[in-house]
């Protein structure tokens, strides 16, 4: 177990290092004057030199790379080129928003997706199955920004026109301050994430359930005289959880990516919106910081998936 965890940690570190290097290399492989970008067009040569020196841009690339890695190992992500704020501070400030969005969204998509998949698979080719399959494919086909926009248009704007301001975008209230307001601002973003991702889970669960329902051990369960409800929930669903867990790992890992779009659409002040702004302003330390954070998230999610698989499947435990 310990050897296994060490191996996984080493692999995770390797991935994070690769991501960090990739960003670094691409950043410097593209010819552009970073100092001028930061200092502004009118800056004098002296100013530029000062900026270069401060950012270490006057050093050879390999030295810059060494320093960059050195700081990384200490957990120092540097300071924003633009605001001079430490990146860790920025992340710490934004993360509650993104976490609220992600956790609520994940809970909702698991609930919606798995139950829709189970209901559809319980009566394959029935009317309810066809309906669920069509709706799932509908949301599965939509990029999440479009779902967000449509929700805004139909659930916020149409009510707003009628004089009811139900789920206004562009604001955020911490959970600790006012749970109700917190939910009010987050419901549409949650729905956006949950509809798009839940569609994947509905399709996945349905497929896995149908496959499981064709297995010999399901016939055994029926031959034992178990109720159909028990056959579906205790026997078929139990074996369908493996692919769901795998998918959950992938989605947890890419939650930050998912948050980007949702936060932009709904104007939530989270990490996703932060990184898009940093990208547009070429604020390298912030980009790198968030990228590394999200690759660490992927690595952590993969480990979580393996642990969950071991908990779910005795054959993996051995």
């Amino acid at each position: 177990m310990i050897a296994y965890l060490l191996r996984r940690a080493a692999w995770g570190a390797l991935v994070v290092w690769l991501v960090a290097t990739l960003v670094f290399v691409v950043y410097f492989a593209v010819p552009r004057d970073v100092a001028r970008l930061i200092a502004g067009r009118q800056a004098s040569e002296e100013t530029l030199a000062v900026v270069r020196a401060r950012l270490g841009l006057d050093q050879p690339l390999i030295v810059q790379y060494g320093r960059y890695l050195g700081r990384l190992t200490k957990g120092d992500l540097g300071e924003s080129f633009i605001t001079q704020e430490p990146v860790t501070t920025i992340i710490a400030r934004d993360i509650p928003v993104t976490a609220s969005l992600a956790i609520g969204g994940a809970a909702l998509w698991l609930l919606l997706g798995i139950s829709a998949g189970v209901v559809a698979a319980a009566r394959p080719r029935s009317r309810i199955d066809r309906a669920i399959t069509a709706v799932a494919l509908f949301f599965y086909s939509m990029p999440s920004f479009l779902v967000g926009q449509l929700l805004l248009f139909f659930l916020f704007f149409q009510f707003y026109l009628a004089g009811i301001e139900l789920f206004p975008p562009g604001s955020y209230v911490p959970l600790s301050e006012d749970p109700l307001q917190w939910m009010r601002f987050l419901i549409l973003p949650w729905l956006t994430i949950a509809l798009v991702t839940g569609a994947i889970y509905a399709r996945l669960t349905r497929g896995a359930m149908l496959e499981a329902l064709g297995e010999d051990y399901i016939r055994t369960a029926r031959a034992k005289g178990l109720s159909e409800r028990r056959v579906i929930l205790r026997h078929a669903l139990r074996s369908s959880l493996s692919p769901v867990v795998t998918q959950f790992g992938i989605d947890i890992g890419s939650l930050l990516g998912g948050a980007i779009v949702t936060e932009v659409v709904f104007g939530l002040p989270g990490l996703g919106r932060e990184v898009v702004q940093a990208i547009l302003k070429q604020d390298l330390p912030v980009i790198i910081g968030v990228t590394i954070l999200s690759s660490a998230l992927v690595v952590g999610a993969n480990l979580l998936v393996d642990l969950l698989h071991a908990a779910l499947d005795p054959r993996v435990r051995v």
Partner: protein, 305 residues
């Protein structure tokens, strides 16, 4: 007994094709896709008919007195956008971008994935180890964040969008094809070919390719809508196809500012995007059912976010 004059057998491909032809959803999707292709091809024609080039701003006719976009009408069939440009013509041109990105990027991804997957699965050993680890790394990358960062650094454009989509999608295909190739490798017909002295080329192209072909076709069909969605997302965030070139993504980004006054800016490009991706997904599902490879229902390339 059947008469023996029927020399040509109904093979697995013909059977799949016949099943598809009986599938009404598949036919509907194919027609939708065909229409999209026609619209893309005839975009310049459309511009000519309406007299509205895609990037031309019609300050007088295209914008209302207060500078608000004009709704659908006789002059602008689907209305205008915030700069007074013809939404219909821009959607038609956007179709070109979307289909191009979708087909080229998923074609590339499927090609790379199939080659890498077959090679890893058939050769095994050190080749497999290296290729598999490579796929693991690609699959562990936080794709949207990284894609945005890279697009921003290199500078947005059609080429980089296609590259990014292919780069983040091939490993998904590669991993599935590898697993399949590995299992085909153990099949008795491959052993029979080896017992006859067949070389690598025979086994990879004659025995394996037709078998993974079904998977590859299904993935190609399902990757296209995913790629279209991904491109739209990049453009929506301002990191895909740069303005003023129209794409569904950047049109929808523009709509963000206007949806309260100009619903057509949101609904028409949205409908176009959804219609095409939905059609491809339905077709992909139908193709998979027709070929009946028992695969999990979902594919997760860099597209859904």
């Amino acid at each position: 007994m059947k008469q023996t004059t029927e020399i040509r057998g109904r093979g697995p491909w013909q059977l799949a094709y016949e099943r598809l032809r009986r599938d009404r959803a598949a036919i509907g999707s194919a027609i939708t896709i065909l229409i999209a292709v026609l619209v893309a091809l005839s975009a310049p024609l459309l511009a000519q008919i309406t007299g509205h080039p895609p990037t031309m701003q019609f300050g007088h006719t295209g914008l209302g007195p207060t500078g608000i976009p004009v709704g659908p009408g006789a002059e602008f069939w689907l209305g205008t956008d915030g700069l007074g440009r013809d939404v219909l013509v821009r959607i038609a041109y956007g179709t070109r971008v979307s289909l191009l990105v979708g087909v080229v990027a998923s074609g590339l991804a499927v090609l790379i994935g199939a080659v890498v997957g077959i090679a890893a699965g058939w050769f095994g050993g050190i080749v497999d180890t290296i290729l598999s680890r490579l796929m693991d790394v690609v699959l562990s990358l936080p794709f949207l964040v990284l894609a945005l960062a890279l697009a921003a650094l290199v500078g947005p454009g059609l080429g980089i969008s296609i590259f990014l989509i292919a780069f983040f999608s091939w490993a998904t295909v590669g991993r599935v094809v590898r697993a399949e190739a590995k299992s085909i490798r153990e099949r008795e017909y491959v052993q029979a070919a080896r017992a006859l002295g067949a070389g690598n080329a025979h086994i990879m192209f004659v025995e394996m390719l037709p078998m993974v072909g079904a998977t590859v076709i299904v993935y190609a069909t399902l990757l296209i809508p995913a790629s279209i969605g991904f491109e739209a997302t990049l453009s929506f965030l301002g990191l895909g196809v740069p303005p003023p070139t129209p794409s569904w993504g950047n049109m929808l980004a523009d709509a963000m500012a206007y949806y309260k006054v100009a619903w057509w800016l949101l609904l028409f490009p949205g409908a176009a995007l959804l219609g095409v991706t939905y059609a491809f997904n339905v077709l992909g599902d139908s193709v998979r059912d027709a070929l009946d490879p028992k695969h999990d229902q979902t594919i997760k390339p860099g597209g859904q976010s």
